[in-house]
Symmetry: C2
Amino acid sequence: MDSIAYFDNAATTFPKPEEVYQFVDRFYRTCGVNVGRGQHKLASQAAKLVQDTRTALLSLFHCPNKKVVFTHTATEAINLILQGLPISNDFNIYISPFEHNAVTRVLNHLQRIYDINVIQLAVDKKALTYDFDRIQNQFAENKPNWLIVSHASNVCGVVAPIRKLCNMAKLCGAITLIDMCQTAGLIDVDLSSNDIDFAVFAGHKTLYSPLGVAGVISSFEIKPEPLIYGGTGVESASQALPESIPERYEVASPDIAAIAGLYASLHWIEKTGIENICSKEQENKDKLIAVLNEFPNVKVIDTKKTESIGVVSCVFEGYSSDNIGQILSKQNIAVRTGLHCAPFAHQFLGTFPSGTVRFSVSYFNTDDDFEKLESALEYIEENS
Amino acid sequence: MDSIAYFDNAATTFPKPEEVYQFVDRFYRTCGVNVGRGQHKLASQAAKLVQDTRTALLSLFHCPNKKVVFTHTATEAINLILQGLPISNDFNIYISPFEHNAVTRVLNHLQRIYDINVIQLAVDKKALTYDFDRIQNQFAENKPNWLIVSHASNVCGVVAPIRKLCNMAKLCGAITLIDMCQTAGLIDVDLSSNDIDFAVFAGHKTLYSPLGVAGVISSFEIKPEPLIYGGTGVESASQALPESIPERYEVASPDIAAIAGLYASLHWIEKTGIENICSKEQENKDKLIAVLNEFPNVKVIDTKKTESIGVVSCVFEGYSSDNIGQILSKQNIAVRTGLHCAPFAHQFLGTFPSGTVRFSVSYFNTDDDFEKLESALEYIEENS
């Protein structure tokens, strides 16, 4: 297969740093066992790796006082929290206009059980900036019980002012949840504040680890009910799950290979520098937008008035998004088209139901990728 | 580190076949993307691999008419079924005496909500054989609503007569669930029968795949409520999960590397032959028991009167299990001690609460492993 210009990094970053592949393979071949303390040397070594990965994550987010619970996907982490928190009728649940189905489908499930209000935070439709005055009014009118915000939209890349939003919600007594799937390891975030109750990360996106590891960072002063019941390797005689964190939520065999990959990618991020990763990704975003802007029939969703990451959505006049995806695929350009599991974001942006063509860059995109993209867009222009 | 004689294969098989490591590494490096049909070439290639893995699994279990739902762990699969099935007060739920906390802790959770009866199937304590006459009486006295049976005990290796048990329960109208964590890929099982509603497998044990992939095989004529809500990549505009299987239950990004590993290990199983794998594992079990029987202070749980796999539990007179585990670890022997997340099995076997020392073999144990074990046991005998 010809080499592919990969602009689907918001789905999963690809490739990963070379050391991630190497470390995963080596660790799996030499220590791919089930974690357990004091059982045997390999199990202890695997347990130490898991522990060291937790420490590295808390260091990355400047919150050594908090705890990490690993899950297999960010979706599982979000379900663990939202299905596990106390809830009752008349709850006001604020979300950003950009939430993924990993949030909104859980809320839809809860709405079938409880009479709750799901309210979108006020965001200016043109500037795509959060309108704090209107949000203050929203909170005054309907006191927030939960606040759930994607740190960056997986559709248009807009970054939410999470510190300010969580602080405003916290002053009203809300529980706050930040979805950092598109930003963990890319934007330097301090999670030590008590304003952020739960922060969810996905290893395989901006953290450049393999698929199979994600999780929650929290003080766990608020303890959701468990989502999954099973063996924990500790307190096995009891039929209740242990109260201790992370054991309460980490049932079954941890995916040691994926966690080894996260360990290696965290090391790569530390070595490379999160600011260098971010500035390289922003450079690649600028190159991407420059290429897209060469073509008058490509309408890019404009995020210039706000902070955004390297996730860029656009529509091609005269084409459906899926049609463009197919043409680009034939030209060896990888993009993701349609609704990106975030229908409300597209409704807000005015691109529902046909969706957009989404281009998303990473640290690893090359000039060759952008040249290939330019050629492919020229081909589309010439043949339209 | 000196090489380790690994007898903890019931926790996870180690090592894996060489081609599994190679295939995972190569696939991840060339195609480690997010699955999606018609999105781009790599995504389509990843989607094809997932589809081919489903087909290979259904072929292994002789049930091309059934469906595979992938989860990340067998525990998640069991929770999906048991938390998702219709249930009401006075349900009679039959389990084997050997169930893992992955089953019993879910039932304990359900018992906090419903007034249900959890009943152990009658098994002869000496022969460790299922007593069909007594079970028939149990079913007559308290009609079974659910039957949940581990195909093989992760504590003592005893194999349950699943076809007969499921047939008996099905005649009473029960829903049946088989936990094949310790047997999938090792014992040739035909799952085409309608007597078995749900069969759960774990990739990383007897299927010799990496951690991170497990699942359920079923006709899904009975559809549990979903456990986790989120994006599926299909029908994204809808806030309800799709009705179609497997999409209804497979939310979030599938772990393509783990599934690639399962694809490769299924190929290895087909090439090697399930009967050859089983007979080699039985040979290794016999070698293991022969070594253990050389030492009079080692009391092996006797499974000679029934079928069993290469999972052998024993107690060392004069020592706690954990103590033996530590001594063996220093001698570079990997075992698992204690309750093995199956306290009821130990209660039944009379080894609760101190547990046992569990030795579990795989296809890959070598004569060198058994020699190392013999030397270590001699060392313990001499120093006791």
